[in-house]
Amino acid sequence: MTKGLGARKNLVGIGVGVAVGVVALALVALGNPANMGFCIACFLRDIAGAAKLHSAAVVQYVRPEVIGLVLGAFIISLIKKEFKPRGGSSPMLRFVLGMFVMVGALMFLGCPLRMMLRIGGGDLNAVVGLVGFAAGIGAGVVALNRGFSLRRAYTQSALEGALFTIVMAFLLVLWLLVPSLFALSETGPGSMHAAVGISLAAGLIVGILTQRSRLCCAGGVRDALMFRDFHLLYGFLAVIVTVLVGNLILGKFNLGFEGQPVAHNDGLWNFLGMALVGWGSVLLGGCPLRQLILSGEGSSDAGITVMGYMAGAAFCHNFGLASSGAGPTANGMVAVGIGLVVMLVVSVVNKQKEA
């Protein structure tokens, strides 16, 4: 009985992982940048750019995938009666932690989900990133075991819970009705995208599926370390294997460190960037993908975290912190260093005695 339940959950996780991998491959085939079917960090950065929060001309686009993810999670959580307006768990800390997660992600050039897609494309720099990510998660696990907490959330009004989804839907409508308000890349990654309807549908599908399977890129490694619970990790591995097989079939598998798309091969900073992402994601209770899903489910804490990601992305490009294919920047290295110190201080200081 117990085993049956666990096995079914594992199968759901694996099935959703495979589906996410297939959708990601399809998005690349239909126009998204290579190894970037999904990248929550890159796409939020593109949205921040489209809204002119930063002015890096090559990364400005209103990515419908992100909006679809939130809407999909919102719709399925309403249907499944899992929509719960809640918030109030250290919003300012979440915003700042979110900013630094983005600093780490843009050092590496990808969120944990894109890290998996890059590994599946043969990009060995992403394997270095994964080692850093796991190390960061390990640091976060130590913090949790020592009593770190962002404190509890409380039930909020329906409007508070739905507001992030409403803002995302409004952004989509505004962009479709008055595109001239936005800055849109004519060259570079921001100019590469699947058709709007396809991107939106892809986001909706993956939003619905990952809301059901609770897929979390940070949760897989975290739960394996903390509780010897591997069920989230199966979904994580299923994404990588699916994309790997898909790229081999499509002839797009390119093994190596050099010449990888939208990536650089500075191992130390790939490691440290993803360590920052892993650490921050454990403190925040989930990876960027999971935060989008939670924000759709009514968590205004997750919504604030995503706003932190976007603000972080804007700072990254305004202050020259983000890496490019040419490599990391000196400013970015300083910012990642500051981020790691911030994680350490927050981990140590923000404990809660048990009631």
Binding site: N145, S149, R152, Y154, C216, F227, D229, G286
Partner: protein, 68 residues
Amino acid sequence: MKLVNACGRACPEPVLMTKKALAESPEGISVTVDNVVAAENIARFVKGKGYAVTQREEKDAICLDITW
């Protein structure tokens, strides 16, 4: 039976609180959470340790009685 209130806690705190409480009261505890995911995660964790779980729906909360 020792009572644990894990309402409003983000992942993975409800499971961690359960783990710590069971270390202190290995004979069994009662945990209250306010969302399905936390309930699923706790149930999976304690069943893996050989405990039995009885789930009760309460107003805006789910109560899990965890017994050996």
